[in-house]
């Protein structure tokens, strides 16, 4: 449970349709945590340790689409969410994350950014009753990317269609679902050591609040 800091457990009173939302047991909270390291083995240096990401509307629209569409049909191979996984880096240090952000502000490489050499992940594991985890990993080989990192974003394939009982027949489009940035106070900017590999781990936790 060490990834849950005190502030994350606080449920602030909110109002919806005039009804107070106060209980901490009636909703599901989805959190993203970002860890960045460079180097391997004993020389591995953790640069960012489980910084807290901010979700953007691409992620929420994707989830709601999932719940209103009917089915996804094809007679050929199509890619779903993790098939379109990418984690991109950027240099911006002045732009805080807003809900309607759809790309990194200043990606490293051609937009949406330089893709990692290796993109993988971990399946669903249960941490405790009602508390589950998945993870995505991106590895950039030495010299693949360079510059000063001020932002990082998770991209996944997500449906973006709110048609009631709509039918999908194409691969999910890659969209930015969350971002972690210096401007949000998530981490301090750092210069990439191009002589070492750079590894980004993006953990996603889901739990009853």
């Amino acid at each position: 449970m060490d990834h849950l800091k005190t502030r994350d457990r606080i449920a602030f009173a909110q109002y919806y349709d005039g009804v107070p939302i106060e209980s901490a047991s009636e909703r599901i909270r989805i959190q993203g945590r970002v860890t960045i390291s460079q180097g391997d083995g004993e020389k591995k240096e953790i640069i960012i340790d489980r910084a807290h990401n901010k979700w953007v509307k691409g992620g929420l629209k994707g989830l709601l689409s999932h719940f209103v569409l009917s089915d996804w049909v094809s007679d050929r191979q199509r890619g779903l969410s993790a098939n379109a996984l990418s984690i991109y880096l950027g240099t911006d240090t002045t732009t805080a994350t807003t809900h309607d952000l759809t790309t990194l502000k200043t990606p490293i490489g051609t937009s949406p950014g330089t893709d990692a050499n290796t993109k993988t992940g971990e399946g669903l594991t249960t941490i405790s009753d009602g508390h589950h985890r998945i993870a995505y990993t991106a590895i950039f080989n030495p010299g693949t990317v360079s510059g000063t990192v001020g932002e990082v974003a998770l991209y996944l394939g997500m449906p973006q269609d709110l048609t009631k009982y709509g039918v999908v027949d194409a691969s999910f489009t890659q969209v930015m679902v969350s971002r972690c940035s210096v401007a949000d106070g998530d981490f301090s900017s750092f210069v990439i050591d191009t002589s070492k590999s750079l590894v980004i781990s993006w953990e996603v936790f889901i739990a009853y609040e």
Binding site: I21, L64, D71, G79, A82, D184
Partner: protein, 205 residues
């Protein structure tokens, strides 16, 4: 951006938009009478795992014929059922109503519809309202629990693949109950239609 501005942004984010929340509000009406007003449901494990299963999904492989991946609402297959239990609190591992009205999983409503879908691009509140109506004289008893059932695909492997169509059987996704303190039990007036609205929301929180 100054250090003060960064610090302020961090505080604002800790209150508002770092996480993604899912919540559902349930209302039940008969005629002009509001029996349950925006009560908050309790999600069960199938609800949580469904979301993560989507986020780690990999590929739909080429089949000999069309392969279907069925979303939770598949063509109106989702359902809402009512039950009479007033003594059992909702637990994450619960998979069915404790005492459904009618044969398990329960008596299906006569009419089902997703009555509203709200794009939260402007206000950050994304939701769909699942509305179920039982005609007069089709269901009776004292209601102590209600549940939303949805089609699920609870795969756990990273980049899971399917080469044949997924299942269309809905399972319990979330529950509302007297025992959880969500509402007070009520007797169905069989002379009137009964309508349940289950509002599923995604928002920054």
């Amino acid at each position: 951006m100054s250090e003060n501005e960064k610090h302020l942004n961090k505080i604002i984010n800790s209150f508002n938009n770092e996480d993604l929340c899912m919540q559902a509000n349930v209302s039940i009406t008969q005629g002009h009478k509001i029996l349950v007003n925006n009560a908050h449901n309790h999600f069960v494990d199938a609800g949580l795992k469904q979301i993560l299963a989507l986020l780690i999904s990999g590929n739909m492989l080429k089949g000999s014929w069309n392969v279907h991946f069925y979303f939770p609402s598949y063509n109106g297959t989702w359902c809402i059922y009512l039950g009479t239990d007033i003594n059992t609190a909702t637990t994450p591992t619960m998979t069915a109503l404790t005492a459904p009205i009618g044969n398990a999983p329960g008596t299906a409503p006569n009419i089902k519809d997703i009555s509203s879908i709200h794009d939260g691009g402007g206000d950050g509140d994304w939701y769909a309202i699942y509305q179920a109506t039982w005609n007069a004289n089709t269901i009776s008893g004292t209601v102590g629990e209600a549940a939303l059932y949805m089609v699920d695909c609870l795969k756990t492997a990273f980049r899971w693949q399917i080469s044949s169509s997924t299942q269309t059987t809905p399972h319990m996704f979330s529950r509302l109950s007297v025992k959880d303190g969500d509402f007070s039990s009520f007797v169905i007036d069989t002379d009137l239609p009964l309508t349940v609205e289950w509002k599923l929301r995604f928002f920054f929180g």
